[in-house]
């Protein structure tokens, strides 16, 4: 029955969201904050918010996820949450001893009007922040935007509240990570190293949410961007924002405050987006592209040409977060596939504009983002015009099962498979992994369903 709840006829819905393609801001802020070394994220709201976010991230990464909560009660909702947050800051520094507390708000604390800037300032004035320790914050009301907005807000908070300018430029480039996996951040660092570019990547969740088994529960794993690194971002030559929605706001903040110029490129998913990223970074850092990277590109291109016949003309539906969906859609087109139905729950005109440009190559494609752009709508579109492949987070499995089509897990959350935290989707090698995954599901299906006389050994 579960599978048969989607109706074919698309009706205008008055604000009702069914099976969302997004969640709320705070979980994004929490994820971003985990990308700072020695940071304890703090949720300023009810206990449930923090429990849900930790559970969701734990399910996605199979890792312990630490965060504290202000534990709002009835009193806080009447008198404001200031005393809760001040107590929390005390408690956290005395018991959990982080280097930084990264506070994010919730719908509750925003609605009662708590001002995080004022409260954290009061904490500092009252001497509640020990020497050498820090409290940063981001306003992340759940009734605006999505989890991606919350991520962007916390990353902006990191840049805006940590960066300093010594007046002396440093030979380094800021790489501002859009929402991506720890594996992707690791790959970005690897590519930069191969290029010989000196970078500061933030946030950086590698070695935080893909920590090895050591027999210890590390409350603060070894990964994450450090405070000196974050401070130095104000002196960098320039910034490259990876993603116009989740990363660009932080680049703008650094530009405004310290005059660090920036360029925004897509998250390097697929051939074209990786080309643009490599070019942008080599230009910004003044380095040339080594043969190693050129060969890696060649291998991806080789796989694309070798297997072209299996990609060509295949229709795809996809859903997820804008900064990932934009380059992924472009990559599918580069492979000769036809992305025809695309939704993202995250609002924003930038997505609309970019998708309209990219999808000129796929006339008639449906795409929508923001309110009403949920997986229910996507499923309805698919019932009206079927596809050969679905790409999205774990919640896509209901649709894939109902429509009996191949499905690739991509995005957040993925709670029923592993791999996303270990193997990157970015860069040329990430592209190769996507090619392998797409071919795998499409060819498995062909093998499973081909009549015996057409069942082929060599494909």
């Amino acid at each position: 029955m579960l599978l048969r709840h989607t109706t074919k006829e698309v009706k205008v819905r008055e604000g009702l969201t069914i099976n969302p393609a997004k969640t709320c801001q705070p979980v994004g802020a929490l994820y971003a904050a985990l990308g700072i070394h020695g940071c304890l994220p703090h949720s300023h709201g009810s206990q449930g918010c923090c429990a849900y976010h930790r559970s969701m991230l734990t399910r996605h990464y199979k890792e312990p996820v630490m965060a504290a909560t202000s534990s709002f009660t009835e009193g806080a909702s009447v008198f404001g949450g200031q005393s809760n947050l001040l107590t929390a800051i005390d408690t956290i520094f005395s018991v959990y001893d982080p280097d930084i507390i990264a506070v994010h708000s919730t719908c509750l604390s925003e609605t009662i009007g708590d001002d995080l800037h004022q409260i954290t300032k009061k904490a500092a004035d009252d001497g509640k922040i020990p020497e050498g320790k820090h409290v940063i914050y981001a306003s992340t009301p759940s009734f605006i935007g999505s989890h991606v907005t919350g991520y962007a807000n916390m990353v902006t908070g990191m840049a805006g509240q940590f960066a300093e300018s010594t007046g002396e430029k440093k030979e380094q480039v800021n790489l501002i990570a859009g929402w991506m996996e720890p594996s992707d951040m690791r790959e970005i660092k690897k590519i930069s190293k191969e290029l010989g570019a000196k970078i500061v990547l933030f946030p950086d969740t590698s070695d935080v949410l893909d920590a090895p088994q050591t027999g210890k529960h590390e409350f603060y794993p070894k990964g994450g961007v450090t405070i000196p690194e974050l401070k130095s971002t104000g002196d960098s030559l320039s910034s490259i924002a990876l993603g116009c929605i989740s990363a660009e706001p932080a680049a703008i903040a650094l530009d405004k405050k310290f005059g660090v110029p920036f360029e925004t490129v897509d998250i390097p998913i697929g051939l074209s987006a990786t080309d643009r990223f490599i070019m942008a970074l080599s230009k910004a850092a003044g380095v040339s592209v080594p043969d190693e990277i050129t060969s890696e590109r060649g291998r991806l291109l080789d796989a694309m040409t070798d297997m072209d016949q299996y990609f060509y003309g295949k229709k795809v539906a996809l859903f997820g977060d804008p900064d990932q969906i934009i380059p992924l859609t472009e990559f599918l087109l580069d492979l000769g596939m036809k992305p025809i139905h695309i939704v993202s729950g995250t609002p924003g005109k930038r997505f609309e504009k970019r998708m309209a440009e990219i999808l000129e190559r796929s006339p008639g494609a449906n795409f929508r983002n923001g309110l009403g752009a949920d997986t229910f709508l996507l499923h309805q579109w698919m019932k009206n015009e079927p596809v050969d492949l679905l790409i999205g987070n774990s919640y896509g499995k209901y649709i894939a099962r109902d429509e009996n089509i191949p499905f690739i897990r991509f995005g957040f959350p993925i709670v029923d498979r592993i791999g996303h935290s270990y193997f990157p989707s970015v860069g040329y090698s990430g592209g190769l992994r996507l090619v392998e995954k797409i071919l795998g599901v499409i060819m498995d299906r062909q093998d499973r369903e081909a009549p015996e006389e057409k069942f082929e050994l060599v494909m």
Binding site: M1, L2, H5, E14, G15, L16, T17, I18, N19, P20, K22, T23, C24, P26, H42, G45, S46, Q47, G48, C49, C50, A51, Y52, H53, R54, T58, R59, Y61, K62, P64, M66, T69, S71, F72, T73, E74, A76, S77, N84, T87, A88, T91, V95, Y96, T106, C107, L108, T111, I112, S142, F143, I144, Q213, T214, G215, K216, H217, F219, L371, Y395
Partner: protein
């Protein structure tokens, strides 16, 4: 080993059972301290887990998107029929709604959904900000109920208005509005309702079958594999059998007061408790000795099969030590007994929502040296697991990776269990799961408990 500090304010929520130790006075049923990394959830979470398994009802979450997104099909409460409960419906409130109110949106959403899915009833969950922006969800519910002819039940589950337990209570209040509205003509005097059983991995079916074999009619299960019509006539049953005491005792009390239905508390975990759950029910129907005979037959034949199967596990697990940190305290009692029957001892026992009576009972049950905690956090759990040298942690989703990082085995006794752990077959499954995790070959490669080999 590095010394891990315990927060001063937390000392009252931790107790170590020792001869001549401090008087037992554990502090519980309090909200968590601001700034703690609590493993607890909120009022909404409590209501949502209790009502979620009602499969032919509409569950609409009124608030910003998060609360609906995080509770979208995350609990394996299985249904034998309709599965409307596994979808996620939200009014997805935006900034303008927060300013101007969300009542219109709620009304429109309800009408659309009821038209589309013809549910038997609708539960409307209030989230944190609903209380603040002043939406009168009761009025909207009344209006929609009148227009559509189905029960439309507000659930006052604003997250900050207490603890998860208050959410259980809010859910029970909503359920109580359904109870008593159905026909009871076809209900036998030898009948009961199963309360506090959520049919994770099909557990309610196992329990139901035992009672039916005893010749007792099961009127409704609340709420596992739940159906609105069955709940409506639950007041026709002669007895309420309550498991997971934290969540459903209040409904049992309300039903006792209003309809004179007595209730008993049971647990379906472990051989001892499972057998008692059948005998205790049979004792309440003394005019039908055949019911007790059947109960004895079931227990005898199940135990005869089970006992020899358990010996292999017991041989391997004897002397191993377990730590338990689960949602409700009642479950802890059964787990201690079940682990003992496998030859294991319990070195840490704790819960998120136990009350003082629960903790007194727990203290009585536990061995010397056992640590008892209320509303614990990962630092404490890690500390005690290491200090007490536990081989196994029993907990939920947030505890699992902590155990594995420490190199300790794990058993999920929470929402994410994949196999039934209730009933006699459940004891076998439990033993198997514990055995598999504790004896896994993977531990020979994994550094354990901080020691690098």
């Amino acid at each position: 080993m590095e010394q891990i500090q315990i927060l001063k304010e937390r000392e009252k929520q931790i107790f170590e059972k020792k001869d001549g130790g401090a008087a037992f006075d554990i502090s519980c049923e309090t909200t968590s301290l601001s700034g703690s990394v609590s493993q607890r959830a909120c009022v909404f979470c409590g209501s949502r887990v209790v009502l979620y398994p009602v499969a032919d009802a509409l569950h609409l979450v009124h608030g910003p998107i998060g609360c609906a997104a995080y509770t979208w099909d995350i609990r394996g409460s299985v249904s034998s029929g309709p599965e409307l409960h596994r979808l996620s419906f939200s009014t997805d409130l935006q900034e303008t709604d927060v300013i101007f109110g969300g009542e219109k949106k709620l009304y429109a959403s309800l009408i659309e959904l009821i038209e589309q899915y013809s549910p038997k009833a609708a539960f409307i969950y209030s989230t944190c900000i609903i209380g603040l922006i002043g939406d009168d969800i009761d009025a909207v519910c009344r209006k929609v109920a009148k227009e559509t002819g189905i029960p439309v039940l507000p659930v006052h589950s604003e997250g900050f208005k207490g603890t998860k337990k208050d959410g259980y209570r809010a859910a029970c209040i909503s359920l109580m509005k359904l109870v008593g509205t159905g026909e009871t003509d076809d209900i036998s005097p030898y009948s009961l309702n199963i309360l506090g059983e959520f049919n994770l991995a099909g557990e309610a079916w196992i329990i139901r079958e035992y009672y039916e074999k005893m010749g007792i009619q099961v009127v409704s299960t609340l709420t596992g594999d739940g159906r609105v019509d069955a709940i409506r006539k639950a007041h026709g049953a002669s007895l309420n059998v309550v498991q997971c005491s934290g969540s459903m005792t209040s409904l049992a009390k309300d039903m006792e007061e209003k309809y004179g239905i007595p209730f008993i508390r049971v647990s379906y975990f472990g051989i001892e408790d499972m057998a008692s759950a059948l005998y205790d029910v049979a004792k309440l129907f003394p005019d039908r000795p055949d019911i007790m005979d059947k109960a004895r037959e079931i227990v005898k034949s199940e135990v005869e099969t089970l006992y020899p199967q358990l010996q292999k596990f017991k041989a391997a697990l004897s002397g191993k030590k377990a730590a338990i940190y689960v949602g409700g305290a009642f479950k802890t009692f059964s787990l201690i007994k079940a682990l003992r029957s496998l030859g294991m001892s319990v070195v840490l026992a704790g819960s998120q929502t136990g009350n003082s009576e629960d903790y007194r009972n727990l203290k009585e049950m536990c061995d010397e040296g056992t640590i008892i905690v209320d509303d614990s956090n990962p630092v404490e759990l890690s500390k005690f697991i290491l200090e007490k040298d536990a081989d196994l942690l029993i907990g939920g989703v947030k505890e699992r990776p902590i155990a594995f990082k420490l190199g300790v085995a794990f058993c999920d006794h929470n929402h994410e269990r994949k196999i039934p752990l209730a009933g006699f077959i459940g004891m076998y499954n439990f033993a198997l799961e514990v055995y598999q995790s504790v004896m896994s070959p993977v531990w020979q490669f994994a550094p354990r408990k901080g020691g690098l080999k």
